[in-house]
Amino acid sequence: MTDATATPDAAPAPHRKKGGSLLELDARTRKRNAAEARFKAYGVIAITIGLLFLVALLFAIIRNGIPAFTQTFLTMEIVLDEETVEAAEGSIVATSQYRNMVAEALQVKLADVGIETDKEPRDLMLMLSPGVGAEVRRVVQESPELIGETVEFRFLTASRVDGYTKGRVQREDLARDRNLDATHLDIVDELMDQGVVERTFNLAFITGSDASESRPEEAGIGVSMLGSLFMMIVVLVCALPVGVAASIYLEEFAPKNRLTDFIEVNISNLAAVPSIVFGILGLAVFIQFAHLPQSAPLVGGLTLALMTLPTIVISTRASLKAVPPSIRDAALGVGASKMQAVFHHVLPLAAPGILTGTIIGLAQALGETAPLLLIGMVGFIASNYPDGLASGFLDPNSAMPAQIYEWAKRADPAYYERAWGGIIILLAFLMTMNIIAIILRRRFERRW
C-alpha cells in the first residue's frame, strides 16, 4: 500500500498489483462517486423541472379559469308598466326601448339605496350588460301575466364591471377607456356594500351559448359542449366497430402477405400523421368532394374518427394479443370454428382492454382542435342549441376546444378568462374519461 497505488496517475501501469485497503476510498473512487452523485442529481433535476412545468400549467389554468365560473350580477326591480311595454313592443327597436326602461329603473334604484350621482341614465347603463333590454323583453314575452307588476331582475353587469370585482380590471386601466370611468366604479363599490351588486356562481357559463365579441359576460360553453358530444357519438359509432373489426382481422385471421404488411405499415404511419393533415383530409373529402355541410359535428366526428382509428386499432390488438393462445386452442379443441373461438371467447376476454383503449382514443379526439379549424367549426357564434338529433349532427356547431380557441383569439381579456374556464371544463371531462379508463383497467385487468 504505497502512495503510488493510491493515485492512479502515478501508477506504473500494467501488471501493477492493485493493493489498497477496501476500507479506504482512494482519490479516484471519490471522484467517481462525486460524478455518480452529480449524474443522479441531473436526473432528479430533470424530473423536478418536468413536474414543475406540470404544476405551473395547472396553476395557470386554475388561477385564470376559476373566475370564469362566477359572474357579477346587479339585482333590481323594474315596474313593467303596461303602457311602456306596449310602446316598446310597438317600436321598431323594441330592445332599446326596454333598455331605457331599465335605465330609468336603475336611476331609481340608485336613489333608493342612497347613492347620489349626476350621471345620465344612459351613462349609468354602461355598468350593465348590453343585453339587458333583450332580457327584459324575453321575460315580458314569456310571461305576459307579469305586465303591470314590479318584477325583480338579476342583470349581468358589463364585463368591465365584472372584471373590476374580480380584480382583472384595475382603476388605472380605465384611464384609456371611453366608456367606464372611475365614478362608475365608485358606484359599483357602494352597490357591492349594499348587496345590490354581487358576484355569484354562474351556471350560464357551463350551460349557455357563445355570445358576440362585445358581450363576453353572456358567453357560455354549453352549446359547444353539445357539439363535442355529437362528434364523440360519431367517433364512437364509426371508429369503434371498424377499429375492432380491423384489429380482429389483423391479429387473428390475417395471412402473412403483402396486403397485411401494407395495412400494418399504413396503420402505424397514420398514428403519427399530424392531426392538421386529417383536417385537410376532412376538408377535401367530406366537404369539397362529398359536399357534406361545413361546420357540422357529423363532418368533425368523421374526421376525428379517422384520426382515432389507429389508436383504437393499436390498443385493441394489444388486448387481443394479451389473451393467451391456450384459450383459442381450448375453443378449437371442442370443435368451434376459428371465427367462433374469436367471437365467443377471445373478444369478450379482450373487451375491457378494448374499452379502455377506446375511452383513451375518445379523450384524445375530444381535446383535438387543429382538424376542426379546417372544417370550419370555428369562426361563427354557436348561439343556438340544436333542435333535435338530426340538426345536432348536421347543423353548424362548435366544439369545446374550438370554442376555447375562438375565445382565445378575441382580444378581450374577459374572453381569455372564459377560455381558461373552458379549459377547466374540458380537462374535467378528459380527467373523468381517463379515470374511468384506469378504473376499468384495474378492475378487469387479468394477468395470465
Binding site: R32, N33, E36, F39, K40, Y42, G43, A46, I47, I49, G50, L51, F53, L54, A56, L57, I61, N64, P241, V242, G243, A245, A246, F253, F262, I263, N266, I267, S268, N269, L270, A272, V273, P274, V277, G279, I280, L283, A284, V285, F289, H291, L306, L309, S337, M339, G367, E368, T369, A370, L373, G376, V378, A408, A419, W420, L426, L427, L430, N434
Partner: protein
C-alpha cells in the same frame, strides 16, 4: 327517396330475411336442429348478410359517384362563353349546383311547383329573387345558361335517385330471396357466413389504406391544381411569404419551413435533455414507489390537449418572457417585442414533448438486457458509468428514433404555434421574434369560407403535402431505426 329511408328499408329487409332464413332452415330440418348443418341462427345471418351488405355497398358507392356522373354529363351543356366569363369551369359548376339546390328547396317549401321549377325561364322570372324568398341566397343573377344546366342537373339527379332506389332495393330483396332459396338443412350456412364476416373484417382493415389513400389523393389533386396557378420553383425556393387574396401573392415556403424548424429545434432542446435524464433516472435509479408516482405524473403532460398548451403559451409564457426579455424587462435587454415568438412556442412545445421523449426512452432503456448492466457493474463500474458508457450507447439507435419521432411531432404540431408563435413569416435568427410555421399557415389559409380555386387557398394543400412528406419520412425512418434496435435484443 332519401338515402336514410332506403337504408332503413334495407335494414328491415335484412331483419325479415334473418327471421325467414332461420325458420326455413328449422322447417327443412323437421324442427330438430340436429338435422341442420349449422346452428339455425347462421341461416338467418346468411340471409341477412346477403340482403344487407351488397345493397348498402351499392348505395354508398352510388351516392358518392352519382354527382360526379351527373356533373360530367351536364358539363357539355355549359357554353364556352359562360366558362370564360366566370374564369373557371368549377365556378360555373358551383353556381349550377347552388341554383339546382335552390330550386329543390323552393319546391320542397311549396314556393314553386315541380313543373314550374323544371320549366322556369330567366326571361319571365327573376330566379334570384324567387329563390331569395325561400331563403336561398345567390351571389349573382342567374343566367339562362346556368338555369338550363341547373334544370338538366336536377332532372338527371332525380332520375338517378329513382334508379338508385330501384337498384338498391331490388338487390336487397333479390339477394335475400336467393339466400332463402338456398337455405336447406344441408346448406353450409356457417361457412358462408364466416366467409362473409371475414370479408367484412378485411374491409374494415382496408379502411386504413383508404384513409392514407384519401390523404394522399386530396393532397395531390389540390397541390397539382395549385402548381398550375403558381410556379413550383417559386413555391419551394421563394423566400417571401405574403399572400394577398387580391392577387399578386408571393408564396415561398422557405420562411415557413425555417420557422417550423427553428421552433422544433428549441422544443427539442427543451424536451430531449429533460426527457432523457428523467427516463434514465426513472428506469435506473428511482425506487419502484417513486417511479409509480412520477412516471404517470409526467405522462399527464402528454394527455393535455394542445389547445391548452396554446393558451398557456399565448397568455402565460409569452407575457412572462416579455417581462424578462422585453423592452422593459427585468434583464433590460429589449430583445422581445411581443408575447408571441419562436421562444414562446418552442418552450411550450418542449414541455409538451417531455413525456413523449421520456416514455419512449424509458422503454428503450428498459429493453437493454440486464446482462449489460451486470457485466459493467461486475467490472467495478459505477452506476452512472454503466449508464453513460454502456447503456446509453447500446440504447442510442432507439433513442435517436425516439427523438426523431418527437421531432416529427413538433413539426406537425399546430395549436401551440397558431397561438404562440405569431403570424409573420420571417427569416430571422432572433428566437424572440415572432415567426410562423407551415401548420399555422395551413390553418390561416383554409379557415373561413374557402373556394378552393385561388392559389392563396390551394397553397395550403401544397403546404400540407410538404408537411405530410416530411413527417412521414421522419416517422418511417424513426420506426425503422427503432425496429432494428429492438431486433438486436430479441
Amino acid at each position: 327517396m332519401p338515402v336514410l329511408w332506403i337504408l332503413a328499408i334495407v335494414l328491415v329487409v335484412a331483419l325479415v330475411g334473418f327471421v325467414l332464413g332461420r325458420q326455413r332452415a328449422l322447417s327443412s330440418g323437421q324442427g330438430d336442429i340436429r338435422n341442420l348443418h349449422s346452428l339455425p341462427s347462421y341461416y338467418g345471418y346468411n340471409a341477412a348478410l346477403f340482403g344487407l351488405v351488397p345493397a348498402v355497398l351499392v348505395l354508398a358507392v352510388w351516392t358518392v359517384v352519382q354527382p360526379l356522373v351527373v356533373q360530367n354529363s351536364v358539363i357539355d351543356l355549359i357554353p364556352e362563353s359562360a366558362v370564360e366569363d366566370a374564369g373557371n369551369l368549377s365556378l360555373v359548376m358551383s353556381d349550377v349546383r347552388r341554383v339546382a339546390d335552390g330550386l329543390d328547396v323552393a319546391v320542397a317549401e311549396g314556393a314553386m311547383s315541380a313543373e314550374m321549377a323544371a320549366s322556369l325561364r330567366t326571361d319571365f322570372t327573376d330566379v334570384r329573387t324567387r329563390l331569395g324568398n325561400v331563403g336561398v341566397a345567390l351571389g349573382s343573377d342567374v343566367t339562362q345558361d346556368t338555369l338550363r344546366v341547373a334544370q338538366r342537373y336536377r332532372e338527371l339527379t332525380a332520375s338517378g335517385n329513382v334508379l338508385k332506389t330501384i337498384v338498391v332495393l331490388g338487390l336487397s330483396l333479390g339477394l335475400t330471396g336467393l339466400a332463402l332459396l338456398r337455405t336447406s338443412a344441408q346448406f353450409r350456412a356457417r361457412n358462408v357466413v364466416e366467409q362473409g364476416v371475414l370479408l367484412l373484417l378485411l374491409a374494415a382493415a382496408c379502411i386504413a389504406i383508404l384513409t392514407t389513400l384519401g390523404i394522399v389523393l386530396s393532397l395531390i389533386f389540390n397541390t397539382i391544381e395549385f402548381f398550375q396557378l403558381y410556379r413550383w420553383t417559386d413555391f419551394f425556393f421563394g423566400t417571401t411569404w405574403s399572400p394577398s387574396f387580391g392577387g399578386g401573392s408571393e408564396l415561398g415556403i422557405i420562411p415557413l419551413l425555417w420557422g417550423t424548424l427553428y421552433i422544433s429545434l428549441i422544443a427539442l432542446l427543451v424536451a430531449v435533455p429533460i426527457g432523457l435524464f428523467s427516463a434514465v433516472y426513472l428506469s435506473e435509479y428511482a425506487s419502484p414507489r417513486f417511479r409509480s408516482i412520477a412516471k404517470p405524473l409526467l405522462e399527464v403532460l402528454a394527455g393535455i390537449p394542445t389547445i391548452v398548451y396554446g393558451l398557456f403559451a399565448l397568455l402565460t409564457v409569452g407575457p412572462l418572457l416579455v417581462s424578462v426579455f422585453g423592452d422593459n424587462g427585468t434583464l433590460g435587454l429589449g430583445w422581445m417585442q411581443g408575447g408571441t415568438a419562436v421562444m414562446t412556442a418552442g418552450l411550450v412545445m418542449g414541455i409538451m414533448l417531455i413525456p413523449f421523449v421520456s416514455s419512449l426512452s424509458d422503454d428503450i432503456i428498459n429493453a437493454v438486457p440486464q446482462a449489460m448492466r451486470d457485466g459493467s457493474l461486475g467490472l467495478g463500474a459505477t452506476h452512472s458509468e454503466t449508464v453513460r458508457q454502456v447503456i446509453l450507447p447500446a440504447a442510442l439507435p432507439g433513442i435517436v428514433g425516439a427523438i426523431l419521432l418527437a421531432a416529427s411531432r413538433a413539426i406537425g404540431e399546430t395549436m401551440i404555434v397558431v397561438l404562440g408563435a405569431g403570424a409573420a413569416a420571417r427569416l430571422d435568427l432572433n428566437p424572440f421574434e415572432a415567426m410562423t410555421t407551415v401548420t399555422a399557415k395551413i390553418v390561416s389559409q383554409l379557415t373561413g369560407d374557402t373556394d378552393f380555386t385561388s392559389p392563396e387557398a390551394l397553397v395550403a394543400f401544397a403546404l400540407g403535402m410538404t408537411l405530410f412528406v416530411i413527417t412521414l419520412g421522419l416517422n418511417v425512418f424513426a420506426l425503422y431505426i427503432v425496429r432494428k434496435y429492438r431486433e438486436q435484443y430479441e
